[in-house]
Symmetry: C2
Subunit: 267 residues, 2 copies
Amino acid sequence: MKLQPVKPGAAPALGDEVADVTQEAGDAEVRKHIAKIGERMDELQTALYAEGKQALLIVLQARDGAGKDSTIRRVFGRLNPVGCMVTSFKVPTALELRHDFLWRVHQAVPPKGTIGVFNRSHYEDVLVVRVHQLVPEKVWRARYDQINAFEHLLTQNGVTILKFFLHISKDEQKERLRERLDDPAKQWKFNAADLGERDKWDEYTHAYTDVLRLTSTPEAPWYVVPADKKLPRDAMIAEVVVEALERMDPRFPGPPEGLEEFRRLLS
Amino acid sequence: MKLQPVKPGAAPALGDEVADVTQEAGDAEVRKHIAKIGERMDELQTALYAEGKQALLIVLQARDGAGKDSTIRRVFGRLNPVGCMVTSFKVPTALELRHDFLWRVHQAVPPKGTIGVFNRSHYEDVLVVRVHQLVPEKVWRARYDQINAFEHLLTQNGVTILKFFLHISKDEQKERLRERLDDPAKQWKFNAADLGERDKWDEYTHAYTDVLRLTSTPEAPWYVVPADKKLPRDAMIAEVVVEALERMDPRFPGPPEGLEEFRRLLS
C-alpha cells in the first residue's frame, strides 16, 4: 500500500479498521525491500549533506505503543548519524513553559544539509494539552493557525516537512502495553499514566482528527500510517521519505575552484 | 591489535610508522567481527537508555582525511539514533567566541541514558588555535588544566569519556585528499585550507603530542588509533567502546510498582 497525504480540510476515518493492512509479501521479502529503500535513502542523505542547501523535517506522532521509537530505529537508524538528529519532546520544562509552545521546537529544526526527526512535537500542544485541558480552549484553538504559519516559514526557508501519524487499534495497543509488562527488557517503557491516556481513547481520536483536518497542507502534509503491523508500517514510511528526498533532488556541488592547482600541489 | 590508553604524562610517538597496522584477517572476516561487536554495542545502548543513569561521551580528533566522518558512520551508525547524538564542532560563531571555549561544548554533553559523539571538540582550542596562534600562549597553556577539570566534572557526574586520536601518515593523507579531488561525490569535502594545515604537519604533531601528554587521564583516557587502514581502525575503536559500555554495566530497571494491578487493568 502506498500512503497518500491527508487532503487539506479532510478528516480521515481513524477507526480500528484502518489501523491494519494486508502485508503484501513475506517478512523476508518486505525486509529486503525496506533495506533497498534504506540504501537509496542513505545515498540521498549523503547528497543532501554535501549540498548543504535544504533540510528534511520528519514529525512522528502516535498514541503510546504505536511504534515511534521502533520506527526511528528501523527506518532512520539506517542514516549517517552525522546528518540525522532525533529530538524527543517530553513534558515541557519550567523554562520552556515560560516561552510560547513553538520556542523549543524552533530550536530543534534541522539545519541545512540534515534530516531531523521529531519524536512527538509541537502537536502535543493541541493533543495532550487539549485532552487534559491544560490551557483554555481559546488558547489551543488558536494554535492550529500558529502551527501552519510556523511550518510555512520553515518550508519557505528550505525545510521539507513530512508528518506521520502512526495509527494503531485499541486492541493492538492493549497487546503492546501487556508485552511491555511481561518483558523485563521492555518494562522500563511502561508508564502507569499510559493507562489513563488509554481511557481517553475517543478524546484523542477527536483531537487527532482535528490535527489532520486543520494542519495537513500541501507543503507540510500528514500521512496516516496503519501501524498495527510493523513491517508494512516501516516500508510505507520509508517509501514516503525516499520519494520526498527524490523530489528535493539534492546535488553534489561541483569541483572546487582551482582543482588543477590543488592536484598539482598534491602530486 | 588492542588499543591501550595513553599513560598519563606519556608522549607517545606520532610518526608515520605508527599510523599503520597489520590487518589480522581478511576484509570479510573483519567486517563480520565489527558487525558482531556492533550488535553487542546496540544491546548495551538499549540498556543504557532504559537505565537512564549514565552517559558515554566519545571525542574524535584527527587531521583532515583521517576518517572521523567515516568512523562515525561505520561504528556509531549502528546505534539507535534516539539515544545517540553527534555534534560537529566547526569554527566558533561570533556568539560562541564571546564565551569561554568550553561553553558550547558543555551544552552538547550527552544527557543521561545517551551516547554523544564529538566530531572535533574542545581540543581544537589547543590544536588549531595553538598552531595558528589565535590566542596568546598564556591563554592556550592554561587550557589543558581547564580541560582536565571540566572532564573531571563530567566523569564525577555519570559521564564516561573516551577520546580517540585517529592517526594517519602524511602519505596516506595525500592519497585521501587526492581521492577527494578525483571523486565527484567527494569533491565537496575538499577544503583548500586543508592544504595549509598539511604544510603545518609538524606543528600539529607537536600540538597533538602535548594534548596526549597533558590530558590523558585514567578517567578520560586518550587512544591513538592507527588509521591508515579503515577496517582495523573501525574494529579497534568499536572494541574500546564496547568494553567501556561493559564496564559501565547498564541495567534495565526492574518491573514497575503495581505490576499485577496493571496486568489486571489490561486483561
